[in-house]
Symmetry: C2
């Protein structure tokens, strides 16, 4: 590892460490000549900035922490890319944590990020786990929630319109003539599962269809679960002609089970997903789903966070991004 320090550069250049620091950081109060000379010496010596030292002294890390519930979920991955694009373009580092939908991991991650003295935090919080959020408030560290929202606390957040997503999907199915629509719900840690459910109900209500509780099924969010669930639902002979799944993942599991039972999609059962992940377009049949501008979601959240960090954010507390229905061949 490089052990070159400012002091060593200073010695070679016959200047003070202070001057070297100013040259390297592009500060004023230095002649272009000496600056150029110092930069060149630093380069020759293979100088590498010591980040811990800089952070310790300046009390800033130029690093933001990001906590998602699952990196291997393509949804999160795209959001993260949006975040990285913004952060990197402004010379901020990103520390990415994966809570795996587990609350203890979320806490652990927050602790780790605190220890690292990140300048700010971006997170997709667990449902109803207010403690962490309150802690963030108490610590007075800038943070922005992504796809998370707590009515009881005053936070900044960037969310897609969950209710609208549920509504669009449900309304579309109703317009296609369906009345008995199965709602396959998301995992309990997903803060938006309930809201999407509200959208589902409001879709029904608008068309005067009565809500039937037996048509709502809980899952843990995995494809495997929804597959088994649909198997069971079919063997229970539950009466339904369409499915609205909380996510494309869940929709995929349902479709697999439906097809295995010899049912044709969309002839026998129509299916709508949510999120528009990459595979939605190449599924068989291509999945009708609700598209969320994921990259945008991450980008906006990062932009707001960086503004908060620099101390001049005055925008809305909650930025809502509108989803869009993508009609393919599963309905």
């Amino acid at each position: 590892m490089s052990n070159i320090t400012l002091a060593e550069i200073a010695k070679v250049a016959n200047v003070s460490t202070n001057t070297v620091s100013r040259a390297l950081n592009g500060k004023p109060d230095i002649s272009p000549k000496t600056k150029k000379r110092i930069l060149r010496i630093a380069e020759d010596l293979g100088y590498v900035l010591n980040f811990p030292a800089k952070s310790l002294r300046s009390r800033k890390t130029a690093t933001i922490g990001v906590i998602v519930t699952d990196i291997s979920n393509p949804f999160s991955a795209t959001v993260v890319k949006g975040i990285q694009d913004v952060a990197w373009s402004r010379n901020y580092n990103v520390i990415l944590c994966d809570s795996r939908g587990r609350y203890d991991r979320e806490r652990q991650s927050i602790k780790m990020l605190f220890q690292n003295r990140v300048d700010g935090l971006l997170l997709r919080p667990m449902e109803k786990k207010l403690l962490d959020i309150q802690m963030l408030h108490k610590q007075a560290i800038p943070f922005v929630l992504i796809e998370g929202y707590f009515s009881s606390v005053n936070t900044d957040s960037v969310v897609s319109d969950w209710v609208l997503g549920g509504f669009l999907a449900t309304d579309h199915l109703i317009k296609k003539g369906h009345k008995r629509i199965l709602y396959v719900n998301g995992p309990s840690y997903a803060a938006n599962a309930y809201q999407r459910f509200i959208g589902y109900k409001s879709g029904l209500r608008q068309s005067g269809i009565r809500f039937d509780e037996s048509l709502v099924k809980a899952t843990d969010g995995t494809m495997q679960y929804s597959y088994q669930l649909m198997k069971k639902t079919l063997s229970d002979k539950l009466d339904f002609t369409a499915v609205f799944a909380f996510s494309d993942y869940l929709a995929a599991g349902c479709i697999k089970a439906l097809k295995e039972s010899g049912l044709k999609i969309p002839k026998d059962v129509a299916v709508v997903g949510h999120d528009d992940i990459e595979f939605a377009a190449i599924m068989e049949p291509p999945l009708t789903t609700v598209h969320i501008p994921r990259h945008q979601l991450g980008k906006k959240a990062a932009e707001i966070l960086l503004e908060k960090i620099s101390g001049n954010y005055k925008g809305p507390r909650t930025l809502v991004i509108k989803p869009e229905l993508i009609v393919r061949e599963s309905t």
Copy 2:
């Protein structure tokens, strides 16, 4: 942000900062009584370790850097999970970087990780980009390559058997009676694309089938590309009865194009992918592919790296993990 320091705890506890440090770090040479008392005071005061300060002084960060070519690729995501599982269980942090398959980003990421003084590095390197690897050697920083291998330098690496992967897929198709097998190759930055191609050729050779260069197609690794490629290949009326794709992603693009042209899989064209990503099982038809123990790949790499960091790694320079053919319904 918490501003409690060791000194403040020391003052409250009426001991020296050093004693506090020892208590917090579980070091010997401290009485259980005072230790307990100090821990309790630290807790009460809401003490949060200052990582930059600790790193600066101890010259260790308990952090490893990971560079992958694309997080949103489910393959990488699972490898990363394996890495995190090992790292976190040993109280190491992970800084994850996404090079997006771009060399400048890989360099940038390495630089950033150096600045952060990570204790070690895990990376899936670009093909034939030796410079970075040589730099890592020169900097004498512990590192392990994942799915990357350079014959010209002596590095530790964990790889799946690329040649075998290509062979298994090809041999399977040949046993199914195919002789004209299209090979849809991976992106140029994937170090294993060539080796898999070797496996493809050795599969042909073993069965005495002559190699036909016109059956090899290059791609950039995206589904969109392979989709377009297959469209074109079909319109060119190229003669083939089976496809072996470098990745399941590429296979998915091919399948979409094949189906759109009215071809039945596997009746008209058989398709084999590689990697066994989650969606392979639910594609239509379920995809025959080569499974790679991805989680294992990340786990092993992290274990080796941590052993190297602690200075007692004596194992093999290259650990090869065997892939396995998963026969589904696309062949």
